[in-house]
């Protein structure tokens, strides 16, 4: 509870009109980033414990999964970029069913994604634009985004299994790439 209170407290501070609009001094902006970032990192502890508890049941075994913080706004995620197999857990906070595109930063390769019922689902590998790769201070090996559509129940959680199959196959990115370069 005290960990979640830290995030609640940080979110309270972020309601200030300067934090919302960005009219604070620069050093205050950096302080807001520090407060919020620390609170989010700490709150992930709770998510890790909750998911491991759900995954293990009463077996009492050591934790199976670690949940790292992904930076989807920069198309980077250490786990999906470096792991041969990883799990994607998606929670729908809305009270109605939604379909949403999930995009996972990955390195070039061939991937298979399995839905909770065990079926392999359709995916598409889309190259990350150079402009994103050049974002200052972005540290990532990701070259592509693996896209699939998640069908989510109201307030539901679904788990997808992703497996990297090959790294050498040519023409893995399914889809046509056409480029025109201006004179």
């Amino acid at each position: 509870e005290f960990i979640l209170n830290e995030l609640k407290s940080a979110m309270g501070i972020m309601q200030h009109h300067d934090a919302i609009t960005g009219t604070e001094k620069q050093h205050v902006a950096h302080d807001y980033e520090r407060i919020l970032s620390t609170a989010i990192d700490d709150a992930l502890l709770v998510a890790r414990q909750a998911f491991n508890k759900a995954a293990q049941g009463d077996s009492g075994k050591a934790p199976l999964f670690s949940y790292d913080r992904c930076h989807f706004n920069e198309s980077r995620c250490h786990t999906s970029e470096t792991s041969e197999t990883f799990m994607v857990t998606v929670y729908n906070p809305l009270a109605w069913g939604v379909r949403e595109a999930v995009k996972l930063p990955v390195t070039y390769g061939h991937y298979e994604v399995y839905a909770p019922n065990g079926d392999k689902i359709v995916t598409q590998l889309v190259e990350i634009p150079d402009e994103v790769k050049r974002i200052p201070n972005r540290r990532s090996e990701a070259t592509h985004e693996l896209v699939f559509i998640a069908h989510l129940h109201p307030l539901g959680v679904k788990s997808f299994y992703v497996k990297r199959v090959s790294t050498t196959k040519r023409a893995i990115a399914n889809g046509s790439y056409l480029e025109w370069i201006s004179g």
Partner: protein, 304 residues
């Protein structure tokens, strides 16, 4: 593959030929070469045109521009600088940004057109096979201020809708309010700032209508307006070099590693008039699914 040219007309013809390669509901993203794919004449900015097979009326252009920031000594309102609190361009006409290159991606789930635009702007217009909306992903920055001029970047959606100077924005996420160009409902208005005086807060949604409707949903609060008939304009990013004397005491000039910030976001474009569908889309923009990624090394598919 292999379709390249340096010539403008060649390019148009080739793009028209290429349309069959798109295997989604996106009807070629170009319109059979009847209209220019992009235009850069008159400094009005770069644009490309899109049509969707499902809805023939999904026809609009996207262009980008920037307003140069005003510079003054802040002693009287007429000398106010554009700054953190104040949007005050030194011109009523935004400076258009031309297209540098266009590329297209098409696959099993989505098709997209990526337009690289002068001034560090990337525009991606995306259509999903499963969804009815058009997604416009934009990436702006770092904004160059090497010329000593602060800049405020906007995106313009140009449609054929005759909206008679009227547009609608949400009231801090509550009801939609009608806005009228150069007018206020309660008093006679004379605007000294014709552009900012017509800007309104857009927390979720801005739309224009006249029989048909063109709605843009934002993923964050932005400023928006409709200065030209059939057009929706939203401000995306700002980098300014002077304080506006409203208290912050600094110019809005944030940097990372010495260069300006890059902002990346999405707009969702809807043509539906169904209020339930639109309201749901608004919620889905603001409360998207939460995605956790965890390493599963040592966990086989069977074990999972």
């Amino acid at each position: 593959e292999g379709v390249r040219s340096d010539g403008y007309l060649d390019r148009l013809n080739q793009i028209a030929d290429v349309k069959d390669l798109t295997n989604l509901g996106l009807d070629a993203i170009v319109d059979e070469g009847k209209e220019p794919l992009w235009e850069d004449a008159n400094g009005t900015g770069a644009a490309f045109k899109g049509t969707m097979k499902k809805r023939e009326t999904d026809d609009f252009k996207i262009s980008f521009a920037y307003y140069p920031g005003c510079l003054g000594n802040n002693e009287v309102p007429a000398n106010r600088s554009s700054g953190a609190y104040i949007f005050r361009p030194n011109s009523t006409k935004a400076i258009g940004l031309n297209v540098e290159s266009v590329s297209e991606i098409s696959g099993d789930l989505l098709s997209e057109v990526r337009t690289k635009i002068r001034g560090n702007v990337l525009s991606i217009k995306r259509v999903y096979k499963e969804f009815d909306f058009i997604e416009h992903e934009w990436l702006v920055g770092p904004i160059s201020v090497d010329d000593g001029i602060g800049k405020e970047y906007v995106v313009k959606y140009q449609t054929d809708i005759i909206n008679n100077g009227e547009f609608y924005t949400d009231s801090n996420g509550r009801q939609m309010l009608k806005r009228k160009l150069n007018a206020r409902p309660q008093w006679n208005l004379t605007l000294t700032e014709p552009v900012p005086g017509n800007y309104y807060p857009v927390t979720n949604e801005i739309y224009i209508e006249n029989g048909e409707r063109f709605t843009v949903l934002t993923d964050r609060s932005q400023g928006g307006t409709s200065l030209v008939e059939g057009e929706v304009e939203l401000m995306l990013h700002r980098r300014l070099l002077h304080d506006d004397a409203f208290g912050v005491g600094e110019a809005l000039n944030e940097t990372v590693l010495g260069s300006g910030l890059v902002v990346r976001g999405k707009h969702r474009i809807l043509r539906s008039k169904d209020p339930v569908e639109i309201a749901k889309s608004v919620f889905q923009m603001h409360l998207p699914p939460v995605v956790f990624v965890s390493d599963a090394s040592g966990l086989s598919y069977e074990q999972w």
